[in-house]
Homo-oligomer: 348 residues x 2
């Protein structure tokens, strides 16, 4: 009965601590700590002994204790307006792909309410000291925003930042490609279904895609026939499309460019509800290349969302180590995918 010192009253039942391993391996706690983390200065013999003991006892370092001692959480946080969109779930999967492989964890948080800025502040507060880095998906901070010091480094996805690290795609180009495709097919009255928060302006992403669309239209001396806010939701897309279909026959677009596939799905619904056919009566092109877009034959602009997530995670990992981590805006390629939802105007 010699153990009465530290082994006396563990709070949670049989959790083994570093002390147990040290005792079993006959070394100090410090050596266990070093051996477990593959530090070079521990002799192979001892390392083996420690690892064996750890395995035997099924020991895993308490992450909270190690965080407290080291200042590293091995956790990356992701903040997004909502978790249910296809875009965000793909992104999370991409993040998880690389974080898991690197032994890091993913902490997610939604900014459900509309008061974006405030929530972001709140979101960051909740994550402060909890994560090594933060990935902001689709939460638009304003390009002049600069991450405050004494807070975890931030990776912004979907918006270009003046300073700091951001990544995304060339939205202007995407808008251009989709619109030119429609123009190439002979369409001249083109309606846009853009997106943004309910009562606020369109999101920066929308602005850029709109600009791209406008550029394409300009070469024909045209303007968008109408721009509706589809809120980047299926239901919103349906409402937006309804509004477009309600236009008088003379002005009603013959083609719709929806800034997300999900909104396009809603639009498809609205179109079918009225007994109209796609692409017979109206063409529609989306954006994203949603997983089900191929199934429903939706033409779209593909963006590599999961890959975006992977890159963001790599960057976050980099930022969380103390690597020099410069300002940059990384752009991933996009691609127009033509399926059966768009057709030549003259074939009607």
């Amino acid at each position: 009965m010699t153990n009465r010192q530290r082994t006396s009253s563990p709070r949670r039942d049989g959790v083994t601590t570093i002390a147990d391993v040290a005792r079993m391996a006959g070394v100090s706690e410090a050596t266990v700590s070093r051996a477990m983390r593959d530090f070079p200065q521990v002799r192979p013999v001892l390392r083996e002994r420690v690892l064996a003991a750890a395995a035997e006892l099924n020991y895993v370092a308490d992450s909270n204790a190690s965080r407290l001692a080291s200042g590293k959480t091995r956790t990356i946080g992701v903040i997004a307006p909502q978790l249910t969109t296809w875009y965000v779930s793909q992104m999370s999967a991409g993040l998880e792909d690389v974080l898991h492989a690197a032994g890091n964890d993913l902490l997610v948080s939604a900014l459900s309410t509309p008061a974006r800025r405030q929530d972001l502040r709140e979101g960051r507060a909740r994550f402060r000291q909890r994560v090594d880095a933060l990935v902001l998906v689709d939460v638009f901070v304003g390009r002049d925003w600069t991450p405050p010091p004494s807070e975890p480094p931030v990776i912004v996805v979907g918006e270009k930042l003046d300073s700091g690290y951001s990544l995304g795609i060339d939205d202007e180009l995407g808008g251009f490609l989709a619109t030119r495709h429609l123009l190439d097919l002979g369409h001249r009255r083109i309606g846009l279904v853009a997106g943004g928060a309910p009562e606020s302006d369109f999101s920066p992403v929308s602005e850029f895609r709109t600009a791209g669309a406008a550029r394409a239209l300009r070469s024909y001396d045209l303007e968008p026939a109408t721009i509706q806010n589809g809120l980047f939701t299926i239901e919103g897309g349906r409402a937006a499309a309804s509004a477009i279909l309600d236009m008088s026959a003379a002005t009603r677009p013959t083609a719709i460019f929806s800034f997300s596939d999900e909104m396009a799905f809603g639009a498809l619904h609205a179109i079918r509800e009225r007994g109209l056919a796609v692409p017979g009566d109206i063409s529609i092109v989306g954006f994203d290349d949603h997983t089900v877009s191929e199934s429903v034959g939706l033409s779209t602009v593909r963006q590599p969302v999961r890959e975006l997530g992977r890159r963001a995670a790599q960057r976050a990992l980099l930022a969380s180590s103390d690597e020099p981590f410069g300002n940059d805006h990384e752009l991933l390629p996009i691609e127009l995918i033509v399926r059966s939802s768009t057709a030549s105007l003259h074939s009607i």
Copy 2:
């Protein structure tokens, strides 16, 4: 120059600690801790002073330190085979709904590789001492599985457990409803698109839905025309449907019951690829009521996934406090939604 004691060298720059607040409010750290957590035994005057100081200094307790001291993480973990399915992302959203409101965090992890059991063990190990409770979504542990002690309590979604807490829907009933709907429409050759891991058996969920389908068919002295494994993915659904469509005209089903809407989307694609029409040439009913199912007019069995997530979160919260937390299997209601992908056989 009186402060040289503990204030000397903070590791991360200007992070304010409880000591700062204590000093500013002129009380002890213990009192700050108590005041911040609304403990009753601190005088209102002091509480005010503390809260004011904390606000002034923008103080937030370091969660790792408090976890270490208290043994509570205020974090719930969720483990799922993959993050990209609609089902899982809805579930996560539901979890987040209530966790966020309760001031808890959500830690997510995917079990990407096929070796389920092993991964689960690994997943749990990674989460050990990191979360107060674990939610297992769609990872099938076997109904006789019982959570090991000295690990966080587990909530299982989608599988009924003999002991422990689980919740889900009545899958057998769901299978029955979908199949009877098809039978009511006059279909007699019905193909099933079930799901499970690539090389393994069908998942328990699939087994139950199959049983329900069999029960419905039995009243007509029938059996499923075929059962294909669609892997619960869109692509898998497409392949499964292709296999079905390749059957000889005499045996080919006139209707398909797909165990998930996503697989049904894939099936729709396969059907359209062959120039066949839905529901003209073949009827199809799905399962889930995926967000885009309404848009594409897919008949389906709706299950309240997000609500399932909310319940799971509530239960996880309960389990993480030391509430008595009995064994139970909670069932949420499901509902057949008839849209335009199913039609009477005789109308063909």
